[in-house]
Symmetry: C2
DNA sequence: TTGTACGCGTTATCAG
DNA sequence: CTGATAACGCGTACAA
């Protein structure tokens, strides 16, 4: 009961050799139907299960891929992982997940460990605090595909799947302009990060393209919290000419803004339109439901997985692919001025 | 560059044998400091990485565990997984995740595949539609620890970590009673499932223990959607004697109820107190913030991982442990009648 | 202190 | 069509 049955066990039972058993199990054409039957029957009887470890060692293919994210229980990341798993599991791959907790040291450890575990690829959303890339270079040196998703580092030879933040911000801002808003503010998070720079740039570009003036006073920073959103909103509303629309670089900021505006008796969207970013699940439940830029995490995961599959199938040829996904603006009540 | 370096490579380089290298790397006491130094240096130089596959095959320990959930991008499940990963990763285990999509056939396939992959344990939240248990028995037959979390099946030899739904419902109901509510309704989901039966039972028990009458009219069913919550709330409010409190078995129901009550001009919590179940992230963002029973997913994950570790460390001795976690009621404004 | 030889479970190669 | 053997990379008795 305890010992796992191997092909030797079933070979012995049938008075044939393990090689034959292996061939029968793998449907090798040059094997008699007769023995194939026998082997299959005996395998079933002994409850034989192929040991993938041995296969992996022999073939050099572990059929495991490593997925690394800062935290797995964030809606965005868990959705990306879902996409990856759904794409890769049917192809016979196992998905190993690890969390960096936004810690560079941990990230390095994880990557080393995954390499030790002989994963066939590493798909990673780089930690916010990662400053070096030696660990990534090591992955490349081993010739195993490395794929960045959402958060990337500049590094030759690495494929990536990211979101067009600029485009998302542009769409959001343009939408607000189309609603007739004349003074559009922007709440940003951390301008040290590329994604927020891009969102700011998209916002600016949309203003410019529609002949609207960019006003630095309309750009306020916030931390990733509701209270921060409230504070930022207060700052904006205390301006001599308060804005009539706010595009926040995250959803919590948008929520905080809405709460503050309600507190001071403003109506949304009549007095001020709001658009957030990320399309977190809660946005659709709010009153009013909050418009937000969707980051399409599921497609991002599936795409990342597909890029890996391409890479693995193009033996020898090194490919470096950069996929940039288009975000889609989910328009809801918080930014819909004119009815419908 | 392409070939991975093995202990043989570094042995050859140093004119010693692979065995010695292996020992040096593993800090075997009976090895000269001299050669140890040399080996370590050469290992670093050649960028040697231990091949865990070979080790796993040799030792019979893969250092992988499989975690199976219906969908990974549900807040509850991803949080449980986070707990598992955080507990197991430091111990050197890799966490392989798979999703059943609530499909029994898929679940069976996944379990088989994990067995093939030689995982050391399977931690699973059973699919809602699973009716058989042959695949689980197989796991037990192979003598690998099987641990159910959140959703369990009755099966000897399997450990489990679940939530005390009865207790959670009891607490919620008792809290409403303490707020002075006299007519407490209950929204339930699917009474075919044990967890909802238990929540209903906890609700009833709390009423009874406080000398309050159970009124079947106050129990309404709902699907897991907001609109369902609205419909159910309407049904309740149309009763001759509408309730002054609602305890919903999920958060979406609570949210729908709040939205409907607001629509018809009721004030929350003054006219009607609301408590939900699950403590989904959005509950805290709502207006008013919704009280809810927290299912402590993180502790559940950590506990499940610990149970596995115990099991693996108690060689030979079969243990079957059932941990039932106490839920904690998160009290928020939606159920706080008397100030504070 | 170090070397020799073997086995973990598979498959691929080469004979037969 | 099938058997024997080597090899994947590692750790470990046993021997020296």
């Amino acid at each position: 009961m305890k010992k796992k049955t191997t092909i030797y066990d079933i070979a012995k039972e049938l008075n044939i050799t393990a090689a034959t058993v292996s061939r029968a199990l793998n449907n090798n054409p040059r094997i008699s139907e007769e023995t194939k039957k026998l082997v299959l029957a005996m395998a079933a009887k002994l409850n034989y299960k192929q040991n993938k470890l041995a296969l992996a060692l022999k073939s050099g293919k572990s059929n495991n891929v490593g997925v690394v994210v800062p935290f797995i229980n964030r809606n965005f990341f868990s959705s990306v992982i879902r996409g990856i798993e759904e794409e890769l599991n049917p192809k016979g791959y196992n998905v190993i997940i690890s969390q960096t907790h936004e810690d560079e040291k941990k990230e390095i450890d994880i990557v080393q460990n995954l390499l030790n575990s002989q994963v066939e690829s590493i798909l990673i959303s780089v930690s916010r605090n990662t400053r070096t890339n030696e660990h990534f270079k090591q992955v490349l040196r081993k010739n195993i595909p490395l794929i960045f998703f959402d958060r990337k580092l500049e590094l030759g030879g690495v494929s990536s799947v990211t979101l067009d933040d600029f485009q998302g911000a542009y769409q959001a801002t343009e939408h607000l302009i189309e609603q007739g808003c004349k003074h559009i503010a922007h709440m940003t998070i951390d301008l040290a990060l590329l994604i927020y720079q891009n969102r700011l740039a998209g916002y600016k570009q949309a203003l410019e393209d529609h002949g609207m003036e960019f006003n630095p006073d309309y750009v306020v920073g916030l931390k990733s919290e509701i209270v921060a959103g409230k504070d930022a909103a207060k700052k904006l509303m205390d301006l001599p000419k308060p804005p009539d629309a706010i595009f926040s670089a995250n959803d919590l900021g948008a929520l905080g803004a809405i709460q503050y505006l309600k507190e001071i008796g403003k109506k949304i969207p009549e007095d001020c339109c709001i658009v957030g970013f990320s399309n977190e699940p809660f946005t659709q439940f709010m009153e009013p439901p909050i418009s937000s830029v969707d980051q399409s995490p599921l497609p991002m995961g599936k795409t990342a997985a597909k890029v890996f599959l391409e890479q693995i199938n193009s033996k020898g040829v090194k490919i470096e692919k950069s996929v940039v996904l288009d975000p889609t603006l989910e328009i809801r009540k918080s930014s819909l001025k004119n009815g419908k």
